[in-house]
Symmetry: C2
Subunit: 699 residues, 2 copies
């Protein structure tokens, strides 16, 4: 690695072959850096340790960024063949603490690290081939197959940043020096912070689809806000500045902490920032892989709850209200600083992209027009919960990248850190984390009159999820009964044993709850975390709100509570998980019932599911399928349809006959019936379908 980290490639240009070479270099550089940072783990044994109990062991992340490429390429039908189906199920889900991301490692036997290394090599070769051979026109747009490759690269860049946090949390004895990872070596007294005036103005956030840099879904669209003048701290809060708060007993004084903050203190037992280490009455500082004397002029690393507590403490002390900057205020700070977006911005001007250090550095080292570290050094927590701009649309390859975080619980982090690269150092990027989550993040404060954003219920802005909420929790129409309830009734009637059931393709989870009336335990699995979130919210928060379309863009707001559903008593029986029905994790097994409602004609390869579903059922287990058999090429390539075509001899092939052929060896078909369902599009337009319900008893 001569130059440690390359800048991201632009989407435009005139020479496709040159662009392929740029992408190839950027891809290998990303893969290289990712593997390099795992060299800090002392031995292969360390890969099976966790840096904290709520996260996966290291080996998961090591496999995850490679499987991500394959899973997304399969999903987008760019490639047909998996490289290692088992790896691609167990390494599949790696999101920030979400209830449905199964982090219980005892559920799997993790593979050998060398096997994962071998696997990574194969993925690297496959992606390299695709970079050479995929159709490519410039500019690369969101529907280009190359976009999925760029998505894989940027996803890996995120994990470079977050893995470095995890590594930094590991015990020092598990780590070793890596020559290239140069920790900044200079420090002196911290400068005294002061406030800078920023003029108000109109801010337009969001970027256009024609922008020439890759973006995640949450970056596109438009959002305007008018901001009054405000003041902002010249420097990030240094370890020295934060020390006053710690020494004044800030972590012990409840008045500085809100409910979420108090919960964090109770669970973590924190008395000081996570990377401070108390040794002999003095605080030392944990860098990536070593302990050093406290660098008082470096930024403090804290989570959002700690940053907010500091603001309350300082407000009380100074008699002025300090808060974290909002997303729109930060844009005015960015403009005040005269910053420009990459590639016009040169990385030498800030502590980012691994250009200077593998650590933070003094808060007065990189200034822009008199204000310091507007980008780089550490991320800066904002008070703005992430939300979708007007015109927000998910990308089909990753429809749950952002939407599960639009829950008012995920705060945006601004700027970037020493460990940021790729999309993260772009002007328009937007990342958000739970407020208790450790990151390479600190903060600066503002004095502003800005109000907090009004909280929105997340599903009101997600049309497809809202449509499913209406389908599963809304009103009946044309005299057709609630489909989820009716399916659960059929299932409960036929099932022999009622210990454990699986609702596969559970969508917003209604049938999962309904099955729990007669099963001791019900797991709901869906491919998309967008949908799962509804069931989780009902279980945890006791309600879900959504918008039911009436005419054009107009909608009626609706709210359903767990009490109304009569499911309070059974809610602890249900759990929701993210999973791919065509490549389910091995731990999903031992069911008395597997119900797949309106799933088989939406799978990219339904045979993969049907061929082995019997193995997940107990003896005397039942499989229940429902489907209107509406095959469509956008979900399933025509050669993988189970019916709805003529075979080579010209004979019509019907889905039910193919089901009998595939399932007949291992199941007996015991019941077949039609069941209507109605999905509302508007108050005057409905999809009215007739599913075929087939009930199969395992032989």
């Amino acid at each position: 690695m001569s130059k440690f980290s390359l800048y991201p490639v632009t989407l435009d240009g005139s020479d496709t072959e040159a662009k392929r070479e740029e992408i190839r270099a950027y891809f290998h550089n990303t893969f290289d850096i990712f593997e390099k940072i795992f060299e800090v783990l002392k031995s292969d044994e360390v890969f099976y340790k966790k840096s904290e109990p709520t996260r996966h062991p290291m080996v998961f992340y090591f496999g995850h960024t490679a499987t991500f490429f394959i899973n997304k390429l399969i999903l987008m039908k760019i490639i047909k063949e998996r490289i290692n189906p088992e790896f691609e199920s167990i390494f599949a889900v790696g999101v920030d603490e979400m209830e449905w991301d199964d982090i219980n490692g005892t559920h799997y036997s993790w593979p050998k690290v060398d096997e994962v290394r071998e696997y990574r090599k194969k993925v690297r070769e496959r992606v390299d081939e695709l970079i050479t051979s995929l159709p490519l026109t410039l500019p690369i747009t969101q529907d280009s197959p190359m976009w999925t490759v760029l998505m894989g690269i940027e996803h890996e860049r995120i994990h470079i940043e977050t893995s470095l946090v995890l590594h930094r949390q590991m015990p020092l004895e598990d780590l070793k020096e890596v020559r290239e990872f140069n920790i900044c070596t200079h420090t002196s007294a911290a400068p005294k912070n002061e406030m800078i005036d920023i003029n108000g103005g109109s801010v337009v956030l969001g970027k256009d689809k024609s922008h020439n840099l890759y973006g995640w879904d949450n970056e596109y669209g438009e959002f305007s806000e008018s901001i009054d003048k405000f003041k902002v701290s010249k420097y990030l809060v240094s370890n020295a500045e934060f020390m006053e708060f710690v020494k004044d007993g800030g972590y012990e004084d409840e008045e500085f902490w809100d409910e979420e903050g108090k919960k964090f203190l109770a669970i973590s037992g924190a008395k000081h920032p996570i990377f401070w280490v108390l040794e002999g009455g003095n605080y030392r500082y944990r860098a990536l892989h070593k302990l050093i004397d406290m660098p008082l002029d470096w930024p403090v690393d804290v989570n959002a709850l700690e940053a907010e507590a500091f603001c309350r403490y300082k407000s009380k002390k100074d008699g002025v209200v300090y808060s974290l900057p909002s997303e729109a205020e930060y844009r005015l700070i960015y403009e005040y600083a005269g910053l420009r977006d990459i590639p016009d911005f040169h990385e030498s001007r800030a502590n980012l992209n691994f250009y200077h250090y593998f650590s933070s550095c003094p808060v007065d080292e990189f200034g822009f027009n008199g204000i310091y570290d507007v980008v780089g050094n550490v991320w800066q927590w904002s008070r703005t919960p992430i939300f979708g701009f007007d015109g927000f649309e998910v990308h089909p390859a990753y429809d749950d990248f952002s939407t599960p975080t639009f829950d008012n619980k995920h705060a945006l982090i601004l700027g970037s850190s020493w460990a940021s690269s790729g999309n993260m150092i772009m002007k328009h990027s937007r990342y958000a984390f739970r407020k208790h989550f450790p990151q390479n993040a600190g903060f600066r404060y503002v004095i502003s009159s800005g109000d907090e954003k009004i909280e929105n219920d997340i599903y009101e802005s997600d049309e497809l999820v809202s449509q499913y909420c209406e389908f599963q929790y809304g009103d009946e129409k044309f005299g057709v009964k609630n489909f989820a309830i009716e399916c659960a009734k059929v299932a409960s009637k036929f099932a022999k044993n009622h210990t454990k059931a699986l609702d596969l393709g559970c969508a917003t989870g209604r049938a999962t709850f309904e099955l729990a009336r007669s099963f001791d335990e019900v797991e709901g699995i869906d491919f998309s975390a967008r949908f799962i979130g509804v069931g989780v919210k009902l279980k945890n928060d006791g309600y879900v709100a959504f918008a039911s379309k009436t005419e054009g863009d107009l909608a009626e707001k609706k709210k359903v509570s767990i009490e109304e559903l009569g499911c309070v008593a059974v809610k602890e029986r249900v759990s929701f998980w993210q999973g791919d029905a065509c490549n389910l994790k091995p731990n999903f097994n031992s069911y008395d019932l597997i119900m797949a409602t309106n799933l088989i004609d939406r799978l990219y390869n339904p045979r993969l599911f049907l061929d082995s579903v019997d193995e997940r059922l107990n003896s005397e287990g039942f499989l229940i399928l429902t489907s209107p058999y509406t095959w469509q090429e956008s979900s399933t390539k025509k050669e993988l349809w189970l019916g709805g075509y003529k075979d080579e001899s010209g004979k019509e092939v019907k889905t039910i006959d193919t089901l009998k052929e595939i399932l007949g060896k291992k199941f007996e078909l015991v019941h077949l019936q039609d069941l209507e369902f109605v999905i509302k599009e508007t108050a005057r337009k409905y999809q009215h379908s007739i599913a075929e319900v087939s009930v199969w008893r395992k032989k």
Copy 2:
């Protein structure tokens, strides 16, 4: 014009600015040639004459190719403003003799030619601007806005070819010499024709969407055929060779003519080819703008019926069966000739693209591997009726370019002529005309064992039209009555006078027939000739066949007759026309009833229709609207929706309220009701909607 006609531009390349310049040059060249060929008309008065009664006057075509650009750009929402709404309605429809193309010139007062010249100038400037400014990536694909510009250019190229036929049909005293239009000056004795052996083989017709030349919808997809060896005539049939047929009384002998041929003879009174002129017992030859002595070695210009009659005559004489070549046989002839597609093919090698002459030339002048005029000189009639290849899809900008000709009545013409340029000289282009239609076309004959293609019913391959046939003529579902019948009942109940009704947005025409039960005259108008064709076929052929989808690609074939509908007695009361509800021709007026079912939420600008609809109604006339108000951006830009959004003050705007506001000045709302309708997608999936029916009486 230094070089008379430029080659078409390729869709690919690496430099977008250079491509814009290529397109610009090609566009102006096309516009120039088109205007140049009208210089042959002696004076502006001649523009108001017709070359034959079934066609429009010349001024129509002169305006038509320019309005085509604007109408398609509006339809595709690439531009918002019309240049001249009146011109863009009266010059809108210019297809080959179709019943719904209103060619009765007394219906309009045509504008001055100078006004049309001025209009053409404005269109030229507007398109030139767009060529500079439209988003452009290479290769240009079918969804690129530039595709619509290329479509306009290629459409004009077609009219260059067909207008030259019309001009050649005009009386000589209406024409003048144009210096650049050089008629070939050499001729000698015709060579004796002979037969060449062509090896059989497998032929794959159709081109891929990635092909680097513009194509019309009918060129894409794939069609394979296995062809036995056959023989083909070395030369096109010359005037000399055809003379034997004429002199032997071929035009008088019914045995050589089929039913369609006999009808042609009866109507036209033809005794010889159209461009032969009998003077003093001798045949002379009509070139574009002069009469010359019969060039015996030039190809004869005939229609397909005359060509077929000649084949029957020659078969009888020689005792061998001659026929016209099929499309697939022609491909083997093309390959035998060693031809290559443009731009690799050089235009100097054949009589096309105006490179040599503004006329035909001897049949033995341009040879390819021993066979002559495989491309160029005159088109060659084939025995193959045009049809859609597997994978056929209409282009949204011109959904009725081909489908109305997939009726087994339109025969393909092969090769190209001296007047062909642009797409017409490409290998993959496919044009078809009615068999009695004059073109710059002749023929060559084959001796082959090939069977005729099996005839298919056209609507069985058109999914959307089939879906509408099922909706209007198929079975009822969920107990919901036939919507077209119910709407017609409401209309008949409210209307006061029953002389003339308009069914606007008539689709496949069921309501048009139903209204005819109580109205003396009913006009059905739809934007797309694809749909209108169903009503026309029912009226003329007494039946229509379509395919009703069951599962996936599988469908049930259905056939409905005019007898079953009980409409035999009223069918003469209905007529169908192509038209744009937002820019209707002035002659559509004086109605007692205008009914627009499920139309307003599919218009690109519904206010344009509503603002002036009262002017087309008689006093005491009624307007009936039905709609589920399912606004969608693909049909109507959001700023033109009539409802389904919030206004600037945040108030919800509903469609019915906007209708009351717009129509309230001129109409009284006398009735409002809901009416359900069901559209079948598959046997298990339906769209189930609830239209609002509003009945408005003109004040």
